[in-house]
Homo-oligomer: 289 residues x 2
């Protein structure tokens, strides 16, 4: 397979950026991969683990000669990185990102560059674990996962094509949609479940007998709350960036909870069972275990 | 190891009753295990699978000569079974159950027998899968799991001791507490998570683009919603039987969600992160993955 890019710079070499670096190297999709981060120890570790070929804590140096830049930092760090990139990259450089909320990133690109550069392809790989850091990265993270790209009207179609090929080369299926639609869908399937899991565990932890409560947690509880072990800062950022869509899904959800509470209060077994039955059917049909 | 009981009758030979039958036979805790159910095919299947030694669809016949009766039917069926048992059992027979809500079962026993028989030991093994039926049963289901017993003041301590030994022989840890406390703890760690998972999946299924939404569900969503594949009838019964405790936890939870919504609206990252951080800490500390 021919190289898709000659030189890539991964900005932020954690679980997501590190796994992409491993995947593109393992599948010979990119000639050389450099790394940039504000945290030198992390870069050093990534280099020692063979995840990246070279690194620099100087952004200009890190991106020199690159035809691909991947922003894989936490969402919160992206605006300042984008400001720093202005003037460092030519028009023909492809820039993509892996942020979990797309409207915010696109706005930050617009603010930094005074418009959307033709080479900017907003993206989001639907993959991850509750772990973080380059030491948790692995080349197969994107195998059989979905990557959503949300190009704007300004985005060059060739840039979209090349970023698609990159993710496909890493084993992923690529889907293109608008940023608005992405943010709504992800609020429903990822952001709200995380918010609910964090919130439930915090609610229980505040109940007096919490040590004892957790003692009687069975497998269902372990599965249900696994995502509440995720990185609090990352999820704070997502909650802030995609707040509107999250609030909208939470409101719908609270209505459903209110209906269910009423059914329990009225001892209306038929309505309760109907809700549970629809849910079981939808999950059994659409979600693979 | 000496036999703990000579003859046991398991009433309702599904996942829970069938797994107990397998465990007591495999560990030689009971001399003979008979099965009773209103569904003859299920009994036949249980017999053919070697889960029970004999069976009858006549309750009097099934319990004849038994010194242990285990009610392992759905919660909803227990009151009528208990009514049928009156007059069929001597005072020295030990009766226990596996119901997920304990106040309701104890009330049903009281109603049927006009008081709590000394041999009745209410119990609840914290074990199960999202599957059901005797074909899903296995002897190791209770290995290293908790079984909660909730004896009343009327319960004979020797009966409690023997039921404890039975569960311990099946590999479980036995904990004794009041029925009230059991119902509160289980509402928090099991019933409310199920209610939330059912309700969220139903909410998403009602959103127009639901086929597409589920397509972008990642591992976190799969884990979070796994329990929404559970048996709708069983969870309807639990929701009805333990309604008060479930509503109380749901109300606390809705308050937490309201606080989080306010923090998102105000873009108050500090409060959001504090909630997520407390939740992660509690889960990492108390729940084994």
């Amino acid at each position: 397979m021919a190289l898709i890019f000659n030189k890539a710079c991964i900005i932020g070499v954690g679980l997501i950026g590190g796994s992409l670096a491993r995947a593109v190297k393992e599948n010979s999709l990119v000639g050389e991969v450099s790394g940039y981060s504000r945290h030198e120890e992390q870069l050093k570790l990534a280099f020692e683990l063979g995840v990246i070929d070279r690194y620099s804590t100087n952004l200009a140096e890190a991106v020199t000669g690159c035809d691909l830049i991947v922003l894989a930092t936490p969402l919160k760090a992206m605006p300042s990185i984008l400001q720093m990139l202005v003037g460092l990259v030519n028009d023909d450089v492809v820039i993509t990102d892996v942020g979990s909320a797309k409207r915010g990133v696109i706005k930050a690109v617009e603010n930094a560059f005074g418009g959307i550069p033709a080479g900017f392809v907003a993206g989001h790989p639907i993959a991850g674990t509750e772990k973080s850091g380059v030491e948790a990265s692995f080349a197969e993270l994107y195998q059989d996962r979905c990557v959503i790209l949300t190009p704007t009207q300004e985005t060059d179609t060739q840039a979209v094509e090349k970023v698609s090929q990159l993710w496909q080369g890493a084993g992923a299926e690529v889907v293109v949609m608008t940023a608005d639609h992405h943010d709504e869908v992800l609020a429903a399937t990822s952001h709200v479940p995380h918010v609910l899991a964090f919130s439930l565990v915090d609610t229980l932890a505040k109940m007096q007998e919490h040590n004892e409560i957790f003692k009687f947690a069975a497998g269902g509880f372990r599965d249900f709350t696994r995502i509440s072990s995720s990185d609090p800062q990352m999820w704070r950022d997502i909650s802030l960036e995609n707040g509107d869509a999250i609030l909208s899904v939470l409101n719908r959800f609270q209505q459903s909870i209110d209906e269910l509470k009423q059914a329990i209060q009225k001892q209306d077994g038929q309505s309760i069972e109907a809700i549970y039955r629809r849910a079981k059917q939808a999950r059994d049909e659409h979600v693979i275990n």
